[in-house]
Structure formats: structure tokens, C-alpha cells
């Protein structure tokens, strides 16, 4: 039996969807019948003279009975990466020595990558994908390609889109699936490309996907509900009946289609700016899925990935966009759809294993691709192509035919029919743990949601974790959970974030700690950048997870971890924060601030803070950047409230000849003073104040999931004459009314001994420093800084050049 060509979607769906009795079996049988019809419907003639000209003029308006789709129909979201994505830097084989050796100027620093399994690691920007991996729902299909790789963008993309290598394609693999799904009718709401032109892979022999604009609703939507333009629409509809050749008809119909699509989809296309191109497109895709209009296939693509030169900045940007877009997609998607939606990626080829002299790579061959979704069975699939055994053109040899990749999607998720669509039998990689709509939707750990605005309660410093005393060092990828709420003077309820100094000790190799709210997805940021030979502390201000804990992740090697708590933020009563323009509070080099001039020995000194450098008398705690300089030998500095019992904490650790800062938030003790102690031999100490806490004044703090705000490795380093202004408000979760921001700032790629200063934009550059940097080091420090003109910060290194990374940890808003 075969169905009539002009069957409506609703009728087709009734045939296709029988969820009551073994839906997949029925779907498949019906599907095969429909496929046969679609293919037999023949190509549409008339003017199709080049590769992507396949066009189906007109359609039957009665076939527009859109949605909803069946409860066991899978939805596929296809992301095209145009220009040839460098798969070797998306999923890097970091355990292969050839990886770094071949890719001079291009290889990722393995220490920065996000480990998966078997020596594979994600690009550092792909933190969302890492969360999906950790949750067990990211499949990485390795080595996807096809025989006799064609090195032309155009040909190779055409082969991929067609689902058939080395043929001149007439239509695409999903288009042929669509032919079968729609039985040859022209439903505008079964498949859509979010973008400006409909690509070959969703063009079938008899039908093609609808293009949905990603730039706001167009004419046809009826925002005022008065139907004012209906008479004009009617006139344009009448014009279509004219007959003066195929393009006359096609153009008239396309005008009408645009009106209809705009009317139907306008409500789902946001008018506001939704960020970067792919993020904007996937947000629209998620909204279209939520609306359940009948869409089974949504595609979107972007570029450019053709990184022949200057690859690092370009590819890092693309990976960041991919990550943001995936996050935004799942953030927009109604969770009820999680077990019915799968995302897949493709690109026309990977790139060469060897880099060229222009920090670029050339057209390659096989590459890994991602399949993401609540019912995806996470893991590595296929075989990673060897870097040692390249083909005669020094390209990687594919291990998974892209038709097997497609077949796995079609048979595992779209109801079957791969051999008809692909013209042959290909291996099913078994990428799915359950069919569409089956199983419990399962997603990665939730990202941390910003805390409610909190007031600050300072504490006498207390060490709350020391792996040297208990638990042993943290190994690679190890996570230390540190209970905060309900201990150490922090109340069991009400605490939203903690101020702690975290120190990495006895590290066996260069590594970083990421400190983040307990029980949430680990962000792609770092808190402490350490290495062998020296303890490295850094202050963190981090939100507490649901269980009142924070977690410390270690990236590489082993290292001990110390956590000293200096206070917490609470939704209850406490002190508000008032930022100050950075100013010097004291300096033992010249006796500024009333301290004794001369190097500090072992004897503690008291430093007046209240009433100094803009800090008022009623202040209860102060934010001070404490720097040790001209150090004669190893030691550390400790700040405590004057009059409080001796503490076992530390703020700054140093060796001879160091200049080392660390931010401190310290309670003011007797007389509004703090006590500075120094262990070890002589050293100078310098304090710069950045703000204070006082009851009934200032703003309240909100912790956010750490997010990267700035990475000059993707733009221009900071250096002499190259101070930069960074927009902070309305980015990375910081609202427009924020008055100050808490950032973890790291410096790297330093060309000479120098320092980095952060200050409110528009204010005069102060004589203070936040980071003291040396060539060969990566150094981080927490920065709490008032926001200047237009919510901007200025960042400068007046002496040498360096790259600066900044991660937002939280912000202060008026109470």
C-alpha cells in the first residue's frame, strides 16, 4: 500500500506515530513505504542548473497541518561547522606526543584541556560539553570521514550534505528522510534551517526545509492583532496564480511562504539580540521545538572554520561560540523535551595534523563529531585516527564512514530507514541508551544559579581544610568537597557564599585548582594556577552549593590543598560592601600608612585601617590586596583582626626575591585595626585597599557560576600603551546595576617582570597593583573592583606585555 502524494502532515503523522503498539516497528515499516515514494517522485526540473539549485516550486497549502509530533518521535538538531573544523583541537589527543610535536603554534596546552577518556580532552572552552560528558550523555564519534577525501570545501561539503561521497548531489540525506516522512507533501513545519538559506542536507527530492530568519520576526506576523495588512497579504497570494515560468511561480510562492512562515513563527523568533550567531540560532531552534509545531529536524550552521592562518584566536572563538550556544539551547529547551531531542555536529573535513608556518592548519580529512542529548549514551565511539600513520598527503585516515554516523542517527533516533536514505547498509554505532521519549530525561549537573544578594559577615580566619593533615593530596581530576555551612562559625542556613584563601602546596606539576559551588557543574574557569616548588595561594569568593559545600578540582598531577575561611555572605543581616577607588593603605618600604619603615621581621605590627584611605570608622572588614616584596627568604604573610587569638592561616606565600600579591578580606579588630605578621626573614609588605564592608551601608554581594569575561589570548595582549577597557555589566551574568565585580584575574605569556593594575574605567590610573608577573609564570589573583564609566573596568600593564584572563565570581548590587 502506498499513501497519496498530497497526504496532509496530520494524516502522515497518524500513520507514522502509533505509540500504543511498538511505535518504532510501525514507524519503520511505514517509513520505508514513504521513502520509496519520495525517491520515486522524481526531481523537479526547471532552472536547476547548479549544485544547490534543487528547488521544489509551490506546495499544497492544505498540507500545513502542523504538529504536534508523536510522543516517541525524535527531534534532531544539526549543527554545521563550515570551513573545515579542526577536530584535533576540538577533541585533542593529548596523550599522543605527536599532537604537540606536529602542531607548533596551534596545539592546545594539554594542561588547559578538559579530560574525557583514553587520553582525549576537550578544547578548554567546551565546558558545557564537558558537563554533558560527565553526565554520561555526550558521544564523541571519532575519525568520521569518507574514502578518498576530497580537499575542496565545496565538494566535500556537498558529499557530506548529500550523504554520498564522490557523486554530484541532487539532494541531501535529511532531505531524503524528509521525503519519506512527508510522503512528498510540502509541509513547511517539519524541518527548518534557522538562517538565511536552506542548505543541501535538508533539501529532498520532493520537498525541502523551511528557512527561519534568525534576525527578528518579519512581515506577516501580526503583533498588534488588528490584521491591518491582511488585504496586502491577500493580494500577494492572488499574484501567485500567475504562470510565467518556473521562477515567476517560485518567487510568488516564496513571498507568500515568507508571510505565512513569519505569521506562524514570528512569536518564536525573538526580536531582541540573542548574542552570537549560533547561540541566537539555537535559541530559536529550542523555542520552535518547545512550541511543538511539527518540527523533527532543525539545522543551523556558522563559520568560519577555515583556519589556514592565525588559527588559535579564530578557533578558540568558534569553540567558545559552540559552547555558549549549546548552553543556551538547553537553557531554553523545555526540560520535558530532554529525552526527545538530540544534537549532532558535522563539518566538511578536519584539518591537517601538521600546522603550517602561519599558525594555521590546512584542509584535512577525518574528524571527531559530537552527539548530545538526554538519551545519548555518552562515550567515545569509533577509533581515533593515528597521528603516526598519516596517508600519503599527510592526512588522517578515517575510521568511521560518515554514512555510518548518519545511519546511527537515522536508525537510532529518527525511526529508521538508513539503508534507503543512504543507499546501502552501514553500521549502527548504537549511540542511544533509549529511543525518543523513552527513559527519564537526564541531564548534567545543573549550573550554579546566582545566589540571592548577601551581606558580609567577617570571621576570625580559620583553616577549614588541610589535605596534609587528613585525606592526602588531590590527584589528577580529583575533587575535594569542603563543608562550609554549619561549621567554623558559618551558620547552617542563610550563608550564600564564602570568602576563603585557597592554597595549592607541594604540586608535582603545573596545574590549576577550580573552586566552585558544591554539587554543581564545574565551570571552565580556574582559581589557582600552581606548580612544583612553591605554595600558591589565591583568595576565592565562591557561592555555596545546595549542601552548603564548595568543591576544589585539581587539574593535573597531585597537590595538597589548604582552605582558610575569612568570612561569608548571608541572606540575613550583615555588612554591605562599598567599593573604593584603589588606594595605598600601607607600605613598609616608605612607612606609608603609619607603619614602621623598613623590612618586616617576625614581629607583628598593627595597622590602622578604619579612618584611613577612604575606609570609614564604622567599617567592619576591608578588602586589601596584600603584596610581599624584596623578600630575603621563604616565608608568608598573615593578616588577622587585631586582638583576635593567633591563627594558623596565611595570605601570601613567598620565596627569596619574590614580588607576590594576594587579595585579602579581613575583619577589622580592636580600634579598627588589623595585625600583620610575617613568618620567615625580612620582607616588605604593601597593602592596597579596594573597598570595605560596613553595616547599613553599601551593596550586597551575589555569587554567580564562574564565567570567563575576558581572554586576551583571543584578541590583543595588554601591554605598555595598550590598556584596555572591559565591559563588565550586562555580560557574564553581571547586571546593569552592579557597582562592583569580583573577578579572578590571571596573567600569562608575560614578556618581562611587570605588574597588572585593574581600576574603574574613567578614573585616573592608580599607583596600585593587582598582580605581579614574571616571564614563564601563570599567576592569578582575586580582584574586587568598583565599576567605572558605563560599567567598565580598565586593565593595564604599564611595563611589559602579557595576556590577561578574567573570570567573574560575583558582583555587588545596591541593597
Amino acid at each position: 500500500m502506498s499513501l497519496p502524494r498530497d497526504i496532509s502532515t496530520a494524516d502522515a503523522l497518524r500513520h507514522l506515530s502509533r505509540p500504543d503498539v511498538d511505535p518504532n516497528a510501525i514507524d519503520r515499516r511505514r517509513f520505508l513505504q514513504l521513502i520509496g515514494m519520495g525517491a520515486g517522485a522524481g526531481l523537479v526540473g526547471g532552472g536547476a542548473s547548479s549544485l544547490l539549485d534543487a528547488f521544489a516550486p509551490g506546495h499544497d497549502p492544505s498540507a500545513w497541518a502542523a504538529g504536534p509530533i508523536g510522543a516517541h518521535d525524535g527531534v534532531l538538531v544539526v549543527i554545521g561547522m563550515f570551513g573545515g573544523n579542526d577536530g584535533l583541537n576540538m577533541v585533542a589527543p593529548v596523550d599522543d606526543p605527536n599532537y604537540v610535536a606536529y602542531r607548533r603554534g596551534v596545539a592546545l596546552d594539554p594542561a588547559t584541556t578538559l579530560p574525557l577518556a583514553d587520553g582525549n580532552a576537550l578544547h578548554p572552552a567546551l565546558t558545557e560539553l564537558k558537563r554533558w560528558w560527565d553526565a554520561g550523555h555526550l558521544a564523541v564519534v571519532q575519525g568520521v570521514g569518507y574514502p578518498d577525501q576530497d580537499e575542496s570545501h565545496f565538494n566535500s561539503m556537498a558529499y557530506w550534505m548529500a550523504g554520498a561521497p564522490h557523486t554530484i548531489p541532487q539532494n541531501g540525506w535529511l532531505g531524503r528522510w524528509l521525503d519519506g516522512h512527508l510522503a512528498g507533501s510540502h509541509d513547511l513545519y517539519a524541518a527548518a534551517e534557522v538562517g538565511s538559506s536552506v542548505p543541501l542536507h535538508v533539501i529532498g527530492a520532493a520537498t525541502k526545509a523551511t528557512g527561519v530568519s534568525d534576525r527578528g520576526p518579519g512581515w506577516g506576523a501580526d503583533p498588534d492583532g488588528e490584521g491591518r495588512d491582511q488585504a496586502q497579504f491577500a493580494a500577494l497570494r492572488r499574484m501567485v496564480s500567475g504562470a510565467r515560468g518556473p521562477w515567476f511561480a517560485a518567487a510568488g510562492q516564496a513571498v507568500v511562504d515568507s508571510i505565512d512562515v513569519n505569521a506562524r513563527l514570528g512569536p518564536f523568533v525573538p526580536d531582541e539580540d540573542r548574542g552570537e550567531e549560533l547561540a541566537r540560532k539555537l535559541t530559536i531552534a529550542a523555542r520552535l521545538i518547545n512550541a511543538n509545531l511539527g518540527f523533527r529536524v532543525l539545522t543551523a550552521g556558522w563559520g568560519d572554520f577555515d583556519s589556514h592562518a592565525g588559527q588559535p584566536g579564530m578557533h578558540n572563538a568558534r569553540m567558545g561560540e559552540l559552547n555558549t550556544a549549546i548552553g543556551q539551547f538547553f537553557g531554553t529547551l523545555d526540560p520535558a523535551w530532554l529525552n526527545r531531542v538530540t544534537i549532532m555536529t558535522f563539518s566538511e573535513f578536519g584539518r591537517t595534523a601538521w600546522s603550517n608556518d602561519g599558525q594555521g592548519t590546512d584542509h584535512g580529512s577525518a574528524a571527531p563529531h559530537f552527539v548530545i542529548g538526554g538519551n545519548v549514551r555518552g562515550g567515545l565511539y569509533g577509533q581515533r585516527p593515528s597521528l603516526a600513520n598519516l596517508d600519503r598527503w599527510e592526512r588522517q585516515v578515517h575510521t568511521v564512514d560518515f554514512r555510518a554516523y548518519y545511519a546511527s542517527i537515522l536508525d537510532g533516533w529518527m525511526g529508521g530507514g538508513s539503508s534507503e536514505v543512504l543507499g546501502g547498509s552501514f553500521e549502527d554505532l548504537r549511540l542511544f541508551a533509549a529511543g525518543p521519549g523513552d527513559g527519564t530525561p537526564s541531564t548534567p549537573l545543573p549550573p550554579f544559579v546566582a545566589t540571592s544578594a548577601g551581606a558580609f559577615v567577617p570571621l576570625t580566619p580559620v583553616r577549614v581544610a588541610d589535605t596534609r593533615a587528613a585525606g592526602g593530596p588531590l590527584g589528577p581530576d580529583a575533587v575535594l568537597t569542603v563543608p562550609i555551612a554549619g561549621a567554623h562559625g558559618v551558620p547552617p542556613v542563610g550563608a550564600t557564599a564564602v570568602v576563603a584563601n585557597v592554597t595549592a602546596v607541594d604540586a608535582t606539576q603545573p596545574h590549576f585548582f577550580t573552586v566552585y559551588p558544591g554539587g554543581t557543574g564545574r565551570p571552565g574557569t580556574s582559581s589557582i594556577n600552581g606548580g612544583p616548588g612553591r605554595p600558591v595561594p589565591n583568595l576565592v569568593v565562591v557561592g555555596l552549593g545546595a549542601a552548603g559545600t564548595i568543591e576544589v578540582f585539581n587539574s593535573h598531577g597531585t597537590a595538597h590543598c589548604l582552605v582558610d575561611v575569612f568570612g561569608y555572605f548571608t541572606s540575613g543581616d550583615g555588612a554591605g560592601f562599598t567599593p573604593l577607588t584603589p588606594a595605598r593603605l600601607f607600605d613598609t618600604r616608605d612607612g606609608a600608612g603609619g607603619v614602621p619603615a623598613g623590612k618586616l621581621g617576625e614581629a607583628p605590627i598593627d595597622i590602622a585601617v578604619a579612618g584611613q584611605a577612604g575606609v570609614p570608622d564604622e567599617a567592619t572588614a576591608v578588602v586589601v590586596n596584600l603584596t610581599a616584596a624584596e623578600t630575603d627568604g621563604p616565608g608568608f604573610l598573615r593578616l588577622t583582626p587585631t586582638g583576635s587569638p593567633p591563627a594558623s592561616t596565611s595570605n601570601v606565600n613567598f620565596f627569596a626575591g619574590d614580588v607576590v600579591p594576594n587579595l585579602a578580606i579581613v575583619q577589622l579588630g580592636e580600634g579598627g585595626r588589623v595585625t600583620l605578621e610575617g613568618a620567615g626573614s625580612g620582607k616588605h609588605a604593601i597593602g592596597d585597599v579596594f573597598g570595605y564592608f560596613a553595616p547599613d551601608a553599601g551593596g550586597r554581594f551575589r555569587a554567580v557560576a564562574p564565567q570567563r569575561l575576558l581572554d586576551t589570548r583571543e584578541s590583543t595582549p595588554v601591554g605598555p600603551g595598550a590598556a584596555i577597557d572591559v565591559q563588565v555589566t550586562d555580560r557574564a551574568g553581571v547586571p546593569g546595576n552592579a557597582t562592583a565585580v569580583v573577578l579572578n584575574v590571571a596573567a600569562m605569556n608575560v614578556t618581562g617582570p611587570s605588574f597588572v593594575t585593574v581600576w574603574p574605567a574613567g578614573a585616573a590610573q592608580p599607583g596600585t597593583s593587582n598582580l605581579n608577573v614574571m616571564p614563564g609564570q601563570t599567576i592569578a589573583n582575586l580582584v574586587i573592583c568598583q565599576l567605572g564609566d558605563n560599567g567598565n573596568l580598565s586593565i593595564a600593564n604599564p611595563i611589559a606585555q602579557c595576556d590577561v584572563l578574567a573570570d567573574v565570581m560575583g558582583f555587588v548590587v545596591p541593597s
Binding site: 542548473s49 528547488f55 565545496f154 518579519g218 512581515w219 496564480s241 589556514h308
Partner: protein, 491 residues
């Protein structure tokens, strides 16, 4: 083979000739060509382009604004300022063939230099165009030929020169790609100034040790069956790249594929002829025409004018399927709307919509350039066409509703005054209104000069139906509906 029949010199054919060569059939041009002595004379008139079509003078500082100035200048040339718009249309052809994009080139001056090559010499010789564009900094940058070194060849340009620019895919081996890429090593540019630089170096001299000046591969290569790069002097090295073009257009032989053993110049000529036909006709090229155009190009030693002339004189070019065979590309649609409304490009072209329509000048989508017809047809691309048409309509209606307007609607073919549009109708009896409203529709159609009186069009009757139920003040929307009509979208 039968000698090709000459097209008849009649209005249908002349209008078709002008639409395809001059974007629109302007009444004065129709009259002029109908008065020509023969069809050949009419075609020669079309091809009588000015020797110097001028160049865009930048007045702005910012690069982006300069790019926009260039786009508006060029569109105005197409719509108004060129006495023979085939010159600009042929430039558009080459812009979509030897592709560079401002995205990657980064400097409006460099794009202007390349566009001016197409504008000034687009009817000249393919060899000259190919050789010249290859070392223009726009192309050096766009296909990474500015970073193509002996020790680390970048094949991007060498490959596309054969695959997309001249020979077509499947007519060369990977070894040919390597030889071609090697021949092109050593050309580069200064990123700051945009100046061309030759860093070929010279083997044996001191600077051959300098990594920054020894980029050229002086070794002889086999390329399409010929030995190239035989002159290994310093100056000779600089011409090795051009030698690959001379070989493809000269005595090269296709090494593999269905064309194996054929002279590469014939294969080049066929490849380009297919593309030229598609651009002007929109249909699949008839085999007889393909052979004729190939021969015209080879016999004229790759001169463009006789080749295009041969195409425009083919009877097949005037057949119904060709006359109905082409959708206006977005640029062609914008040009037609400007002509219809009498608006100049800087005042009226919504350049921000053109990428969504599928064709933004200076920004081809990829190295294979724009395609045709169905490539531009989708609901979303046409959504941007209607948005552009409505932009144009609002500009026209500025004069109608605007504070300094005189209440009339002006289009290329005349003015429809306000008293006719609204006042007159209000004063009529209800019985007289329908006919008056239809008369206004007729006036607006006449003023637009869009030809709706061809069998098969329902556009006029659709506009009548609209007018019948429209309020008098809504009649001006006919301007927008005309700009969106199917007639406006076909070439």
C-alpha cells in the same frame, strides 16, 4: 553542424537582451536598439562600454563605511550611472567567479582595487584578469597565498585556481595542485599598508638564508603534462605563478578523468562557458551552444567580448525557457527596485538585508561565489526581499506623507498626485469610487514601468482586488505590492 540562426530584431528579444545585460529594459534603450541596423548591431551597442568607468572615491575614514560607499557606488553604477550597464553586470559575474571577500581581505581599498579590475577590464581578456587578480593583495589574502612558502606550501590558492577559477574539479591530479602551489610561493603583502611584496629570495645569495625572504620554490615542476618554472632567475621566479595560468590557457593537457588527454585550454573554455551561460541564461547550456562558446573563447585567445557577443547572438538565448529561466539575484532585485522608485542607492538600499537575501556585495559566501535561482529561493530569504521592498516603499512614501513632501507618489515613470490618491476619491460618490481606485492602481503601475501586460500574469487583477476593498489612504501600498510582485523577481 548547422550555422546558428540569428535572433530576430523585435521588441521581445530586445527587452530580453536588455534585461539580461543592463538589469532592466529602459524605454530609451529599447527604442535605440530597435532602431539598430541588425541584431548584431544591437548587441554591439550593448557591448560599447566606456573605456574608463571611473572609480569609487572614498570620503569616509572607517573601513566598514568605505566598504559601504563602494557597494552604493557600484549599485548606482548598475542602476543609473553607467551608460552601458553590461560593464557592471560583467563585473558582478567576475566578482562571483574570482572570489574575494572583505571578511578576510579586511581593507576596502583592496576590495576596490579588485572590483575595479572587473569593472575596467571585465570585457577584456580572461588571461589578463586571472594573472592580475592572482597577485592583487585581495586575492593573496583571501586564499592565503600571502603565506605560501617553499618550506610550508599553502595550497588554498593553487587548488582553487584550478578547481573553481579555471579548470573545474576532476581535471587535475594532487601532484598538479602541489606544482601549482609551489609555483605561486613567495608572493605576500604587508598587513599594515596592504602593499604587495615579493619575497622570492634568490638561491645562492646571502638572503637565501633568511627565513623571511626565501619563500619561493625555484625548482622545475611538471604541471598538466608540461615542464614549468624553467627560468630560475630571481625575476623569473616571480612569473612562475602566472606560468600556471598560461599553461592552463595554453598547451597544458588534462591528465585524468573524463577529459584526460584533452588540451586544458578547451576544458577551461568549457568550464567558463558553462558558468557564463548560467549567469546570463539560467538554464542548462545546450551542447551546441557549449561547443560554440568554447570555440569562441579559444579562438579569440580568451578575449571576453567576442565570447559574450557570441552568447548574446545565439538564438537559443532568446528561447522561452531562457526568457523565463532566471530569477533576479538580490543585487539585481535591488537594482530593479532602485530604477523603479528613482531612488539612489545610498538613500535606499538596505545593505543590511542583502546577506539574508543571499547576496551581499564584497561578501561572497565562500570561494565558489554565488549560485543562481533556487539558491535564493526560501521563505526566509524572501522575507528579507519583502522587508527590502517595504523599506523602498517607505522611502517613496516619505515624499507622500513626510513633512516636506508634496503629497505625491513619484516613481520612475511619473508622478501620482495626492489629489488623485485621496482627496479625489473622498469627494466621489460611493458608486464612482471602485473605478477611481482601479484607475489609481493603473496610474501607479504605469509610473512603475513594470510590465504586467504579459500573458499569464495575475498581478494587475490582484491589485485591483486589493484596491476594491482598500481604504483610500491604503492605495499607496500598491507601491510596495508592485515591488514584491513576481514580475520584479524575475530577470
Amino acid at each position: 553542424m548547422m550555422p546558428a540562426r540569428m535572433p530576430t530584431l523585435n521588441e521581445t528579444n530586445v527587452v530580453h537582451l536588455l534585461r539580461r545585460t543592463e538589469f532592466v529594459a529602459r524605454p530609451d534603450r529599447v527604442a535605440a536598439l530597435l532602431g539598430a541596423a541588425s541584431f548584431e548591431a544591437a548587441v554591439d551597442d550593448v557591448l560599447a562600454v566606456p573605456a574608463n568607468p571611473g572609480t569609487c572615491q572614498f570620503t569616509r575614514e572607517a573601513n566598514w563605511e568605505r566598504g559601504q560607499e563602494l557597494v552604493h557606488y557600484w549599485i548606482d553604477r548598475m542602476a543609473y550611472d553607467s551608460p552601458r550597464p553590461i560593464q557592471e553586470r560583467m563585473a558582478l559575474f567576475w566578482h562571483g567567479h574570482f572570489v574575494s571577500s572583505m571578511d578576510k581581505v579586511g581593507k576596502a581599498e583592496l576590495m576596490r582595487e579588485q572590483i575595479d579590475l572587473w569593472r575596467h577590464h571585465g570585457l577584456g581578456n580572461v588571461r589578463h584578469l586571472a594573472v592580475t587578480m592572482s597577485t592583487q593583495v585581495a586575492m593573496l589574502r583571501y586564499l592565503d597565498n600571502n603565506d605560501n612558502r617553499r618550506t610550508s606550501p599553502n595550497q588554498n590558492f593553487g587548488r582553487e585556481l584550478m578547481e573553481l577559477f579555471l579548470l573545474g574539479v576532476g581535471n587535475y591530479t594532487e601532484a598538479d595542485v602541489e606544482a601549482c602551489s609551489a609555483a605561486w610561493t613567495g608572493h605576500t603583502d604587508d598587513w599594515e599598508t596592504g602593499a604587495y611584496e615579493w619575497r622570492g629570495g634568490e638561491p645562492g645569495r646571502a638572503d637565501w638564508q633568511n627565513r623571511n625572504s626565501n619563500w619561493h620554490d625555484y625548482s622545475r615542476k611538471r604541471f598538466l603534462g608540461q615542464t614549468i618554472n624553467t627560468d630560475n632567475s630571481f625575476e623569473g621566479g616571480r612569473t612562475h605563478g602566472a606560468e600556471t595560468i598560461l599553461t592552463m590557457l595554453g598547451n597544458g593537457v588534462v591528465p585524468i578523468g573524463p577529459n584526460a588527454g584533452r588540451p586544458s585550454r578547451e576544458v577551461v573554455a568549457e568550464f567558463l562557458s558553462r558558468k557564463l551561460w548560467t549567469f546570463f541564461a539560467g538554464t542548462t547550456i545546450p551542447s551546441g551552444v557549449l561547443a560554440a562558446l568554447r570555440d569562441a573563447l579559444v579562438n579569440s585567445d580568451f578575449a571576453v567580448r567576442p565570447w559574450l557577443r557570441a552568447l548574446l547572438l545565439r538564438d537559443e538565448f532568446y528561447a522561452t525557457d531562457v526568457r523565463q529561466g532566471l530569477l533576479r539575484s538580490p543585487v539585481e532585485y535591488i537594482v530593479a527596485m532602485l530604477v523603479t522608485t528613482g531612488l539612489r542607492s545610498p538613500d535606499a538600499t538596505p545593505t543590511w538585508l542583502m546577506d539574508g537575501m543571499g547576496q551581499a556585495l564584497l561578501y561572497p559566501p565562500n570561494v565558489s561565489g554565488w549560485r543562481h535561482n533556487g539558491y535564493y529561493v526560501s521563505a526566509s530569504a524572501f522575507g528579507d526581499r519583502t522587508a527590502a521592498a517595504r523599506q523602498m516603499m517607505w522611502r517613496v512614501l516619505d515624499r507622500y506623507w513626510g513633512d516636506d513632501g508634496d503629497g505625491s507618489v513619484r516613481l520612475v515613470g511619473g508622478v501620482v498626485p495626492a489629489q488623485d490618491l485621496i482627496d479625489g476619491i473622498w469627494q466621489m460618490s460611493a458608486g464612482a469610487r471602485p473605478a477611481a481606485k482601479r484607475a489609481i492602481v493603473d496610474q501607479l503601475i504605469d509610473a512603475s514601468r513594470i510590465d504586467l501586460d504579459v500573458a499569464g500574469s495575475n498581478t494587475r487583477s490582484s491589485l485591483y482586488a486589493f484596491a476594491d476593498q482598500a481604504q483610500p489612504w491604503e492605495l499607496v501600498y500598491v507601491v510596495g505590492l508592485l515591488l514584491m510582485s513576481p514580475e520584479m523577481h524575475v530577470l
